[in-house]
């Protein structure tokens, strides 16, 4: 493994009496594409601003290559930011914007111009050097912001929802490009988003946050397939959450009683027996089956056509809603509305979490 660039150690941030970050701890490795993922207001921007130096921390430490950076003002931190609304200097040309940081670092005009042009080439914007930001589209402005932050070759690049202002098509194209730029430059990226799809497709590792707490840190697959709690399971991807009685827990496996009476063995992060738990069922790992083999029996209530998939809405006997995703190829055997349907839980469909 490569070394740690940024070590965030029990960082607390308070605004008056409101605590925006509760003892947040995480490490960001060199060359890593690290994502802070969470709903709006969970403290992602605040954490980024603490790293950049725009907000002093109220407790804990942020270390860059092992050294506490609290005494450094923002303009002395070897960290650059791509701001959510880009914050390009409106009175400067694209080239001047990108040269700005280099010149402050004492580069000569000639050298700064050379490097700035390289950075703009990296983001495919070489043809707009003399334009002002106001004369560029949102996507182009976003690239200027990226080039401007990359040009001084920071130790870490902080990106605050850089794609949120772009339309969907562009956003998807830029995702892959951003990931590629990260690989090419080898700079550690700390990428903030509230979009779980964005996080899953781009990141090496993700920290899921809610209400100022880090809920889970892990690779996309780990976060999706082995969420540690109900919040993560619900926030990442779609899931069905069903309350069930727990029969026993041992060695990371739980035995629960499904609605309708069947027993089910499934993985769990819990290690102590609890009376009641929440079962997370991923909709795409559930399939239709004859009633005799069914783990669960439901009444079909609706269908939503999604192109590649078809979403089947159903109700458990207790009235609880469930969602099942079926591949379009199997659409021929779709049940009618109101029909009783047997559901089979495939391997990896279920995971027991604390209630």
């Amino acid at each position: 493994m490569t070394g740690t660039v940024i070590n965030i150690d029990r960082v607390v941030k308070r605004f008056g009496t409101f605590t925006a970050l509760h003892e947040v701890s995480l490490d960001i490795a060199e060359n890593e594409f690290f994502t802070l993922l969470g709903p709006s207001g969970c403290g992602k921007t605040t954490l980024l601003r603490c790293i950049a130096g725009f907000e002093p921390v109220s407790g804990g430490q942020i270390r860059l290559h092992g050294e506490d950076i609290a005494p450094l003002p923002p303009f002395k931190r070897p960290v650059n930011t791509v701001f959510q609304h880009y914050a390009l200097f409106p009175h400067m040309t694209v080239l001047e914007n990108v040269m700005f940081g280099l010149q402050r670092l004492g580069w000569s005009v000639v050298d700064a111009e050379g490097r700035a042009k390289q950075a703009l080439e990296l983001v495919h914007l070489s043809q707009f050097l003399k334009r002002r930001p106001g004369q560029l589209s949102g996507g182009q402005q976003q690239r200027v912001a990226l080039a401007r932050a990359l040009a001084p070759e920071p130790k870490v690049l902080l990106l605050d929802e850089p794609l949120s202002a772009l339309d969907l098509k562009l956003r998807q194209a830029v995702r892959m490009e951003l990931k590629q730029i990260q690989r090419e430059t080898g700079i550690a990226f700390v990428f903030v988003t509230h979009d779980q799809e964005e996080a899953l497709t781009m990141s090496d590792r993700i920290a899921v946050m809610s209400d100022g707490h880090v809920q889970q840190i892990g690779a996309p697959r780990e976060i999706y397939e082995a969420p540690v709690n109900r919040f993560v399971a619900d926030f990442i991807g779609e899931t069905n959450l069903i309350e069930v009685p727990v029969l026993g827990i041992a060695d990371g496996m739980a035995e629960v009683s499904l609605p309708g009476g069947r027993a089910l063995r499934c993985p769990t992060p819990l290690n102590r027996a609890v009376g009641q738990g929440v079962l997370s069922l991923r909709p795409e790992r559930i399939d239709l089956c004859p009633a005799s083999e069914a783990d669960l029996t439901v009444i079909a209530t609706d269908q939503v056509y999604l192109g590649t998939d078809i979403q089947l809405k159903a109700q458990l006997a207790g009235g609880q809603e469930m969602t099942v995703r079926l591949q379009n190829a199997q659409a021929t055997r779709l049940p009618e509305r109101g029909a009783e349907v047997g559901l089979k839980l495939e391997a990896g469909a279920a995971r027991l979490l604390s209630a």
Partner: protein, 306 residues
């Protein structure tokens, strides 16, 4: 983009039509209260003076001649440049420029301070800055005179505290005129800068700091250029009326602080007046202001198209 209305004309064209009619009152006001008086002034400046004030309707360039040319006491010497009035003009420009600079130096930090308070305190501060201006300018200037004269409270406090051992002798100096102009026109500097700073996106300052710019560099390279329209508007709004001011120089300054405004004022007052000469001086003053504004407008359009 502008949506197409059913008739085929784009809606923005329709709104433009409305806008033209909305401007009607403005054109009326400009016509009646600006163009007509200016035309009147221009006309008076090329008429012959009547000795007890007023004009004789007879074409004459005597006023301009008197302003620019010195033909000796009896008017029979070869013309030389007349320095008397040019000196007064030059002094006025210089005084107005200095007052503008003073307003800028005090006004910018003030406006910055106000614009960075929270919404409620901003209103309070703006009120505090503008409340003195509910009082008539003449009364304010007279009170300034009472404040700074040798027997006034300013000197009394300074003498009492032992900081000085004799009165400052401020009254009837250029400095007193400066203080008067500064006090008269400060809000005209503060308000436009405030408006510009209020619209300023502070993320730009953070971006500058993020890109290794210290506070002064950020001020110089980012903040000042971005709020520049507000700074320039403030400077024009202070410079132009300062240039033609007559209350502050009359009441606070001595003979050595005589400014254009007072010169013009005198020409229209009492029997010693000379209307064509006053009108000519006013026309010349206006030309200077126009040149300043045109240069500025040129610079702006060049900037916008660059």
């Amino acid at each position: 983009m502008a949506a197409m209305a059913p008739g085929g004309a784009s809606s923005s064209e329709i709104y433009k039509g409305h806008a033209k009619r909305l401007l009607l009152p403005t054109w009326l006001v400009i016509g009646v209260f600006l163009l007509v008086p200016v035309a009147l002034m221009a006309t008076y400046s090329v008429l012959t003076k009547e000795f007890r004030g007023g004009v004789i309707w007879e074409f004459s360039l005597a006023a301009y001649d008197q302003f620019f040319l010195d033909r000796g006491l009896f008017g029979d010497e070869p013309p030389r440049i007349e320095w008397t009035y040019l000196t007064i003009f030059w002094r006025s420009i210089w005084q107005a420029g200095l007052a503008t600079l003073l307003c800028l130096l005090i006004g910018f930090p003030t406006a910055w301070f106000i614009a960075t308070r929270d919404a409620r305190m901003r209103t309070v501060w703006l009120l505090i800055v503008t409340v003195p201006y509910w009082v008539n300018l003449l009364i304010r200037t007279v009170s300034m005179k009472f404040l700074i004269r040798d027997e006034g409270p300013l000197n009394a406090v300074l003498l009492w505290s032992g900081l000085i051992d004799q009165p400052l002798g401020l009254i009837n100096t250029n400095l007193a005129v400066q203080l008067g102009l500064f006090y008269s026109y400060l809000p005209f500097m503060v308000l436009p800068i405030y408006a510009a700073v209020e619209r300023y996106d502070f993320a730009l300052s953070e971006a500058a700091a993020d890109l290794y710019a210290g506070r002064w560099t950020t001020l110089r390279l980012v903040i000042l250029p971005v709020v520049r329209p507000g700074l320039i508007a403030g400077c024009i709004l202070v410079f132009v009326p300062s240039l033609g001011a007559f209350l502050a120089p009359d009441l606070l300054g001595g003979a050595k602080s005589f400014m254009i405004g007072s010169l013009i004022e005198e020409q229209f007052k009492g029997a010693a007046g000379n209307w064509p000469f006053g009108a000519a001086a006013a026309m010349i003053l206006m030309s200077i202001v126009m040149v300043v504004l045109l240069v500025y407008a040129r610079a702006q359009t060049r900037e916008a198209t660059a």
